[in-house]
Amino acid sequence: MNFKKQLREGLLTQNPVLVQLLGMCSTMAITTSLFNGLGMGLSVLVILVCSNVVISLLRKVIPSKIRIAAYIVIIAGFVTMVDLLMQAFLPDLSESLGVFIPLIVVNCIILGRAEAFASKHSVAASAVDGVTQGLGYTAALVVMCIIRELLGNGTFGGGVLSADGIRIIAEPYPALMMILPVGGFLTLGCLIAFSQWLIKKLDDKEKEAAAK
């Protein structure tokens, strides 16, 4: 398995959020500051890698009839671990992500990768797949966060660079709407449209190069 190809797939051509359209609840709900986005993205990355590895290890043991139930239990176990660790060491993050941490259990990305990839491939390939898909998810979240935080709050890097972020747009001007639910839908819609345009453009370029 080619790492570079998998990375490209995870980040762009098979991006879990922008192309496969999985796990949209959390993508829209928590992307209001860079801190939230990074925290959520990295927790999903960790859970995805762990569950992919375990499911890949057990792929010959789990009977195919009850595999979905078994996957859910494995994933729920890892989610609980991350949830408890976060409550202990990063209480602020745990507070602001709230119910969306336990809800990673029903995030279709993780179950989707378990079913589509980890149950058919070796442990190493599954781990790599977890990393690349997790990075793709994190990248999409971070982009959403940066756009929404900048337009809605007028700041950059809230919680990461400084407590309230670096102010770029002066106080009265940002459109509060962008950090409200409306902004989530609008930003994700535009982002998906942009990624479709980009993928099409890259495809055309490759075809042209191949024709020459």
Binding site: L21, L22, M24, C25, S26, M28, A29, A69, I72, V73, A76, G77, V79, T80, D83, L84, V99, P102, L103, V105, V106, N107, C108, L111, M177, L180, P181, V182, G183, G184, F185, L186, L188, G189, C190, I192, A193, F194, Q196, W197, K200
Partner: protein, 195 residues
């Protein structure tokens, strides 16, 4: 517990804190099965049904099993298993007992297990420390909120499909943008309170 409190929970779940448009729970089925009005209606009814039963079951499990044994940290695992088993049971029961309803809801039921709104309502019931009746009311009205949102969205989407829009926006992105406008409309309900 007063009727006013139940009414304010219901109003909150349907309009002010709509599960889909304000809390972002259950977006996947919301986007996935909203292409036609009748499928949207079927999904909405199935969600009301499951959310009501799941709220009741998870409340009982939490109160009499997890809290008694001091196992609250197993909440996520226990709830998702209960919901998965419950959906399966409901499906089998309907198939035998009410075949007509099963025919109507059949294909939507398995999808509901991975609907974040169902697990979400169970977790929120615990977080808000609702009692049994409040939990069930919150579950059912949350489902009604889902039905309202998905039906409104399906009828918008049927029309959007017939319109011309930029190539890159075709299909999913334009649907998200229309959902955004719907969410904007629902913002009008924020601040609505029962005293």
């Amino acid at each position: 517990m007063s009727v006013t409190k139940l009414f304010s929970i219901a109003l909150g779940a349907i309009l002010v804190n709509n599960f889909i448009l304000v809390q972002f729970l259950g977006i996947c089925p919301f986007m996935g099965v909203s292409k036609k009005m009748d499928t949207a209606l079927g999904m909405g009814v199935a969600v009301i049904f499951v959310m009501g039963i799941a709220s009741a079951a998870t409340w009982l499990i939490n109160e009499y099993l997890l809290v008694r044994l001091g196992l609250q940290y197993m909440q996520t695992v226990a709830f998702i298993l209960v919901i998965a088993a419950l959906v399966q049971l409901v499906e089998m029961f309907l198939q035998k007992a009410v075949p007509a309803l099963y025919q109507a809801l059949g294909i939507y039921l398995p999808l509901i297990t991975t609907n974040c709104a169902v697990l979400g309502v169970a977790l929120l019931n615990v977080q808000n420390s609702y009692n049994f009746i409040e939990s069930v009311v919150y579950g059912v009205t949350g489902g009604i909120g889902f039905l309202v949102a998905i039906c409104l969205f399906a009828s918008v989407r049927e029309r959007v499909d017939n319109c011309e829009c930029p190539k890159s926006f075709e299909g999913f992105p334009i649907a998200l943008i229309s959902a955004g406008l719907l969410a904007l409309a629902f913002m009008g309900f924020s601040g609505l309170r029962v005293f």
